[in-house]
Structure formats: structure tokens, C-alpha cells
């Protein structure tokens, strides 16, 4: 079996920092931030590589839309084992997922992919819309938030987690899937992989961007929680905790 898979990946800030709001009040202050492939896109990339390895033939293509720096994310994918990469240049990164979906769909349309893979959501937008929108634009079957995925000749099965349950699905290929965490942990690029990536093809071209109709009017930090309070040690502190839950927090 041969599989041709596209993985769409977004470059996002690393999240383990305290963000600052830009002076415009409409974005985050990007000074000093470190950036990486969005978590779920890493899982999708790893799952794609494993599927092609298992199939024995085929290739994984990485696609990222964004400013020139998105090429760093694509280089990382290449060093993980992706065969080639496409950068759709858009600076600044659009906020409207529908705009992103249209530009990605235009690139994917004639690619001949068996599978187009996305993350369940990107960590910055936390929207989780682009994958399913691309599926609609390309009129492909779509399964979102897969926590398991098994591909065979021309068809696939998947599992999705639900609140208090799960569902199992079947669908024909070509298809679009979005990937949840359970599926695969991304490999670390090896030194050999990093060297090889430098010679792999990375094509850059302008993204086809439509009009944005979803716009940010304000970004703010959530209200700070008051400083924590340690009320005591060991089982002896339990009565005081229960009292506070009843009288102060009123949750009991």
C-alpha cells in the first residue's frame, strides 16, 4: 500500500509563559516569545509518518500558512521525516479560520492526497475549525478529534472520545481527519534528520487570502486568581476545609 498524506501545521508561541497584551490591545506582545509547531499538529505529523512507514510506501507533505518564520516549523517537520514542505506566505497570520481554510484548500485541492491531517485545534486560536472547513471545501469525508486511526486500502476506521464515552467510525479515503492527543507522541528530530532536512524541498508561495470577517476587537488577560492559601497540614485540616467550603466558597 502507498499513502500520500498532507499534514497542515501552524506555528504558535510556546504556551508555558505569562503572555503580555500588545499596546494595541488587540493582540499579544510577541517580544521574547519562543515558537513551535502547535501540539496537536505534532501528533498529526507523527501519526502520518507512522502510517506511511507502516504502509511501506508513500510520502508525507507538510503545509504551513503564516509569516516567513513558519518555515522554521516546516523545517522541524522535515527533520522529523516529512518528505517535502509547502509554505503559504501570509503576514501577519490571519485570525479568521475560514480565510486560512480557503487558502489551505486551494493548495490541497489537486494534491492527490489519500489523507489530509490537521490538529484537533491550534493552541493559540483554540478554535478547532480549520480541518472540518477544509473538508467541506474539498467535499471530502471528515472525522474530527481522532484518538485512534487505522488506514487500509481506500478506507479507514477511527475512534473519537465523547463526554463519558467514545464512538467508532468508518469512512472511505481520500478523507480529512483532525487528531487528538492520544494518538502518537511526536518523535524528536535526530541529528541525521536535522541534517537531511536542510536538503529537502521547501517551496514558498503567497497564500490566497480572502476577506476576513472574524476579527479580534480586544485581547485581555483573564482575571488573576487571588494568592493561594494553605489552611493546614494533614487530616487535621479537613474540618477547617469543610467549613470554608460551606461558609466561604458555598460549594457544599
Amino acid at each position: 500500500m502507498s499513502l500520500k498524506i498532507a499534514v497542515c501545521m501552524k506555528r504558535v508561541p510556546e504556551m508555558d509563559v505569562k503572555f503580555r497584551i500588545a499596546s494595541s490591545g488587540m493582540g499579544i506582545d510577541e517580544t521574547g516569545l519562543k515558537w513551535d509547531m502547535s501540539d496537536f499538529d505534532g501528533y498529526a505529523c507523527e501519526a502520518a509518518l507512522q502510517m506511511v512507514e507502516q504502509a511501506g510506501a508513500g510520502e508525507v507533505v507538510a503545509i504551513s500558512l503564516g509569516p516567513d518564520a513558519a518555515q522554521e516549523t516546516l523545517r522541524k517537520a522535515l527533520s522529523m521525516g516529512v518528505a517535502r514542505a509547502v509554505h503559504l506566505k501570509a503576514d501577519p497570520m490571519p485570525f479568521d479560520g475560514w480565510v486560512i481554510a480557503n487558502a489551505l484548500a486551494a493548495e490541497l485541492k489537486d494534491g492527490g492526497y489519500d489523507l489530509v491531517m490537521f490538529g484537533r485545534m491550534s493552541l493559540d486560536s483554540a478554535n478547532g475549525v480549520v480541518g472540518a472547513m477544509v473538508a467541506e471545501l474539498l467535499d471530502l469525508p471528515c472525522v474530527t478529534s481522532c484518538s485512534r486511526l487505522d488506514v487500509s486500502e481506500g478506507a479507514a476506521t477511527a475512534r473519537r472520545e465523547l463526554e463519558g464515552g467514545a464512538e467508532l467510525l468508518t469512512f472511505p479515503l481520500p478523507a480529512v481527519v483532525t487528531i487528538d492527543e492520544g494518538i502518537a507522541r511526536p518523535r524528536y528530530p535526530s541529528l541525521k534528520g536535522i541534517m537531511a532536512a536542510k536538503k529537502k524541498p521547501l517551496e514558498s508561495k503567497p497564500a490566497e487570502l480572502g476577506e476576513a470577517r472574524l476579527t479580534v476587537t480586544k485581547m485581555a488577560l483573564p482575571a488573576e486568581r487571588g494568592a493561594g492559601k494553605i489552611i493546614g497540614e494533614g487530616p487535621d485540616a479537613v474540618p477547617e476545609l469543610v467549613r470554608l467550603l460551606q461558609t466561604e466558597a458555598k460549594v457544599l
Binding site: 493552541l123 467508532l168 497540614e233 494533614g234 487530616p235 460549594v251
Partner: protein, 325 residues
């Protein structure tokens, strides 16, 4: 006039609480826009019986679409149905549940409009629809404007508590768009956990355990504490779901579930940033950890330092007593 359409989520033939939350949120929008709230419910024959609770929560029209192929979740056909009826509404509200997250972007794309997911607040002022939506793993609150008609929004479960408000209603049977039996994506099996178990997204209280619980068996202590509360669900950290002590579906955090209960009790959890991303908006946080320096204490309203295996049984007993009184 600004009418609002709600897709009312069901599972196993009954409405889910999130459907009533969506209707409640829609009511406020419709009132602002001088329009009506309409709800659309789809399911196997017999689903029409669910219209009653939608009416009780203020849906002024309920459209019911019954079809054998809706016995299981059928995202392609449901998206086609919702999109075929949504075009004339000012706002379309769904839930940011597993089902709603699967459905909403398909509907938006069919209508060729953008959308925002997981809104904690939706407003309509004049003709401007805005939504608040936590991004950057919950660390930044984004206010967005949706400049499209309809504006498609999914609502974070739990963000708007359902409130009853009966309205004069009509119920109308409607036809599916296309053949629901022809969908390419098919659900072959729905696995339901223990149906009496509260879902993490819906439980007012969450008791969550980390590696400090020491062993899978010890989660029985947390189950007992949850049972003592009577309205609690049990969550876990990634360390714990990685070790197979708890299912991945119970994982709370950046790459797991995002929850916001009234009370979150973190037991044997260090409070890694990725875990906090999933629970820091909880109303009250309690931490039990043997390490006084654990970062979880920095977000906890109330902390107890000590051995979880000793403290939890005492707490269970005390909660049981308190609830009896």
C-alpha cells in the same frame, strides 16, 4: 428582526444539558435583537418528544427532523440539515461539546461564513455579534466580532446555566437535506461509559488525581469522595492517563478536557502549566499535596499539605456528614 437558531444536541434519544444551555444563551440574544429563538432537533423517530423541554426553556419554534439514519451521530447529514435551515438567522448557536465541535465548523463552511468556538459569552448589540473566547491555552481572553450573517458560534459547556422560561411554541416536522443514509462517514458503534456517571464537562464538582495518588487502585478513594459529593466527576492528569491508571478521556489540561466547575479538588497534582490550562477557570480550587512548594498551591483557594491517602478518606467522611446535616 434577529432570530436565533439553536442546534439542540441529543444523545441516545434524549436532550443533553448543553442543548438547554444553548437555548438559554440564545434567548438573551433574541431578546436583544427583537427576534425569536428557534431550536432544531434531529434524531431517530420518537425524538419529537424532546421538543417539550426545549419549549420549557424558551424555544418559540422547535423543528424536529426524524430519520432512522439519525439513530447514531451522523455529522454529514446533520450538518447538511442545519445549514439548509440556518441561512436566514442572525446567529446560529451550538455547543462546544464533542458533537458540537464536530458539527459547527461543517455548518459554517457550508454557509461560507467564519465561526468562533467555545465562547464563554455571546452578545448582540445593534447588529454587531461579538463573542468572548479563551485562547492561548486559556491564558488570553479574546473578544471577537463576527461580521457575517449568520454568525455561527459554539458555546462552552457550563458557561451559561440553563434557565426555564416557557414560551408559546409551535412544533414542526422538517425533512432532512439529502439522504441521511448516504453519508460517507458512519458511526459503527457508540461506547457509553457508565451512564449514571456525571461527565467532566457537566459536573459542578470535579475531584482530580495525579501521580501523587501512587497507584491506579487508589483512585477508588477519589471515586468515594466524588460519590460523597453526589454531583462530582473524577478527572486526572496526563501523567496518570499516560500510565494507564485512568482513561485518556478523563485527562484535564492543555491537551485534554477544558473544565470550569464550581469546585475543583486537585489531589496529588503538582500543578504543571499544561494541567492548569484545563482547570484554572474553576470557581473554587482545593489542592492536597505533600509538597508545600508544589505550584498547584499558587492557584488553590484552599490547600492542605500532607499525604493524600490519609487526607482523602477523612475528607470523604466529612463531606458525607456535611451533606447529611
Amino acid at each position: 428582526m434577529a432570530n436565533v437558531l439553536v442546534f439542540a444536541e441529543t444523545r441516545g434519544g434524549s436532550l443533553r444539558k448543553v442543548a438547554l444551555e444553548a437555548v438559554t444563551a440564545a434567548r438573551e440574544l433574541a431578546a436583544k435583537g427583537g427576534g425569536e429563538v428557534h431550536a432544531l432537533v434531529a434524531g431517530a423517530p420518537g425524538i419529537a418528544a424532546q421538543a417539550e423541554r426545549l419549549q420549557a426553556h424558551g424555544a418559540q419554534a422547535v423543528f424536529v427532523c426524524e430519520h432512522d439514519a439519525f439513530a447514531q451521530w451522523n455529522p454529514e447529514a446533520i450538518a447538511a440539515l442545519v445549514a439548509s435551515r440556518a441561512g436566514d438567522y442572525r446567529v446560529v448557536v451550538m455547543s462546544a461539546s464533542a458533537q458540537g465541535r464536530d458539527l459547527a465548523p461543517r455548518v459554517a463552511a457550508k454557509l461560507r461564513v467564519p465561526m468562533v468556538s467555545d465562547a464563554t459569552r455571546i452578545t448582540l448589540e445593534g447588529d454587531v455579534v461579538t463573542a468572548e473566547h479563551p485562547g492561548f491555552t486559556g491564558k488570553v481572553v479574546q473578544t471577537v466580532e463576527l461580521r457575517s450573517t449568520p454568525a455561527v458560534v459554539s458555546l462552552r459547556p457550563g458557561a451559561v446555566p440553563p434557565v426555564e422560561a416557557a414560551a408559546p411554541t409551535r412544533v414542526e416536522q422538517v425533512q432532512p437535506a439529502g439522504d441521511p443514509a448516504a453519508s460517507r462517514v458512519r458511526v459503527t458503534e457508540t461506547i457509553t461509559g457508565n451512564s449514571t456517571k456525571l461527565d467532566l464537562g457537566e459536573a459542578p464538582v470535579i475531584v482530580s488525581g495525579g501521580r501523587g495518588m501512587k497507584a491506579a487502585e487508589n483512585f477508588a478513594l477519589l471515586e468515594a469522595l466524588a460519590a460523597a459529593f453526589g454531583n462530582a466527576a473524577v478527572g486526572a492528569t496526563r501523567a496518570v492517563s499516560d500510565d494507564g491508571w485512568r482513561p485518556h478521556a478523563d485527562q484535564i489540561g492543555q491537551t485534554g478536557r477544558l473544565v470550569s466547575p464550581d469546585l475543583y479538588i486537585a489531589v496529588g497534582i503538582s500543578g504543571a502549566i499544561q494541567h492548569l490550562a484545563g482547570m484554572r477557570t474553576s470557581r473554587t480550587i482545593v489542592a492536597i499535596n505533600k509538597d508545600r512548594e508544589a505550584p498547584i498551591f499558587r492557584v488553590a483557594d484552599y490547600g492542605i499539605v500532607g499525604d493524600a491517602l490519609e487526607i482523602v478518606p477523612k475528607l470523604t467522611e466529612a463531606v458525607r456528614e456535611a451533606r447529611k446535616a
